[in-house]
Assembly symmetry: C2
Homo-oligomer: 336 residues x 2
């Protein structure tokens, strides 16, 4: 018998694509394989739809996150996929998998967090389902967004394009490490610790930035960082049929991530390459378009970390390249 | 501490409505509380969206259903909600919660069943997510439909309207009973047993019937039977601010459901009132419109079982009414 742990998440997705994509429909502009699906159901309307689940003890640990923040995070993870398409989030649908003895106040706090974060991006939670889930709390969201002008996909990167990253990477993984080892953070200031924990628990989806890049037609491709820079950049390369060359020392990493990584006995650049859940955007743009792209998303910073190449695959350049070769594999939920 | 099992599913939904519905948006025509949400994102386009989860050992037992049939059922349950709004299903999104050691062929068979049933109703599976779920297989679907003409809601029933039911009720509960007690079915013909098992495992969503009723403006309200006739008709009463009076002996129940109920030591009418998951449509129409409604959905039968009343609440009439009073409560996933 072939087990999921033998073939991994991405091979399974390839096989599902064959099954689900066997019959096409004219209204499906983009199906499985990008950050979200794009539908043209009505002329003039382009819907962008994504769905994503958070499961207890897989994506979060109950005692380490406030319920309100957990609700915010579930919505943020989905809005990040809408942002990576350059669309405007509109409506969210929530399936809550709950234990029969769940604390009602706890559940309502999750809901308040969801409503709150959705509203910050002018989206509304308009439907859902409640179901019994005896073994684990689960939060499954579907978000519908729309765009009338541009669209960011994973498939438009061209050789010579600059590779850019918004904000800073590795902070979510560092925050996760601190949450799991609270004593580690003691030598950092409370403010720095809280900022890192927030990076993991309560990330900021780059909705405004995605819309700005798509609207101005400044980016040739984009993806959000959910599996780690290496894995997600590799998705752009595969979908665009190009390669990428990046300098690990150019990856934007802030001071507290460096500090936390040191205390955790880890390497901050490795955390950025493999850590995931930073929910920043990786995007590509013409080499002469980096200033315009930076201006469009300011004050959020964007850092150039490399270049798209003809030769397929992901390569590291620069003095520290050899040290990070082994972090180029991508995270797989199943494969060991 | 207040537990979910103290207040139940429906009280929780009321509280979630307050939280999620606190801020309205002009594009939300129908939010939480109907079979699906209705969105007017673009002028001229009316989207109908529903989401629903099937969880192992809550909604199905692995050894009692073929994976392909399980996939069909997950899609059918969601299409039924689209049907109850009178809309045309278009796209489905699937979140698969899988164990790391899941058998890949088994998962692909589920996917084939999903694709197959969706295609039978001209819908496509266009996106989704795969996540690790260590304790239970879960299938969460979101379906987007659209309608350019009519819409069926839970809120339009008027006193004097006839209460109609498509097909036959109780068959799903009888099939579930037989699946759990295989020896019971031995005295029925194989064909009858298989038909009942199909009613539970592989139900038929009434998509064509819902579209026909909505398109011709023949029904004043509708809901699909997922929690049992009593509970679901009560939802129409509450949303329409009316009451209902039905004769239990008029509930359409077929011969094999009666037989199976007898063998199981249960009452077929009680199964119809409380059993749920028949995925037939309950709809209301003007008293002089029952023939037109029947003609619109033929050859699927529709049976008149009662009348909408001014007085709120659900009442039974006829000779056997006293025997079934105790089956008027609705199924709650949490409350005991």
């Amino acid at each position: 018998v072939e087990r999921l742990s033998d073939i991994g998440e991405f091979a399974l997705i390839e096989r599902l694509k064959e099954i689900f994509g066997a019959e096409t429909a004219p209204y499906v502009e983009i199906g499985i394989g990008d950050d979200a699906a794009v539908l043209n159901l009505t002329p003039g309307a382009r819907l962008v739809v994504t769905t994503d689940a958070l499961i207890e003890d897989v994506h979060f640990v109950l005692d380490r996150i406030e319920p309100r923040v957990l609700g915010r995070r579930a919505v943020a993870a989905n809005l990040s996929d809408i942002a990576a398409m350059g669309a405007r989030p509109r409506c969210a649908f929530v399936v809550l998998g709950l234990r029969p003895h769940a604390n009602v106040d706890y559940v309502l706090e999750i809901a308040r967090g969801m409503a709150e974060l959705a509203l910050e991006y002018d989206a509304r939670i308009v439907g859902g389902d409640i179901t019994r889930s005896p073994n684990a709390l689960s939060l499954t969201l579907t978000v519908i967004g729309e765009t009338t002008d541009g669209l960011l996909t994973r498939s438009g990167a061209r050789p010579g394009d600059a590779i850019m990253v918004t904000g800073h990477l590795g902070g979510s993984a560092a925050g996760l490490g601190i949450a799991a080892n609270p004593s580690v953070g003691v030598s950092m200031s409370r403010k720095e610790v809280d900022a890192l924990l927030k990076r993991h628990n309560d990330p900021t989806p780059r909705v405004r930035e995605g819309i700005a890049l798509a609207g101005a037609g400044l980016a040739t491709s984009a993806i959000d960082v959910s599996d780690g820079l290496a894995g997600d950049l590799r998705h752009i390369c595969e979908m665009s049929r190009v390669g990428a060359s990046i300098d690990p020392e150019k990856i934007p990493i802030d001071r507290s991530t460096h500090l936390a990584a040191g205390w955790l006995g880890q390497d901050a650049i490795a955390l950025a390459l493999t850590g995931g859940e930073d929910y920043e955007l990786i995007f590509t743009c013409p080499a002469d378009g980096t200033d315009a792209a930076r201006a469009a998303i300011a004050p959020t910073p964007a850092t150039e970390i490399g270049v798209i190449t003809d030769e397929p695959g992901l390569r590291l350049v620069g003095a520290s390249a050899p040290r990070y070769e082994r972090y180029l594999r991508s995270f797989d939920h199943f494969k060991r």
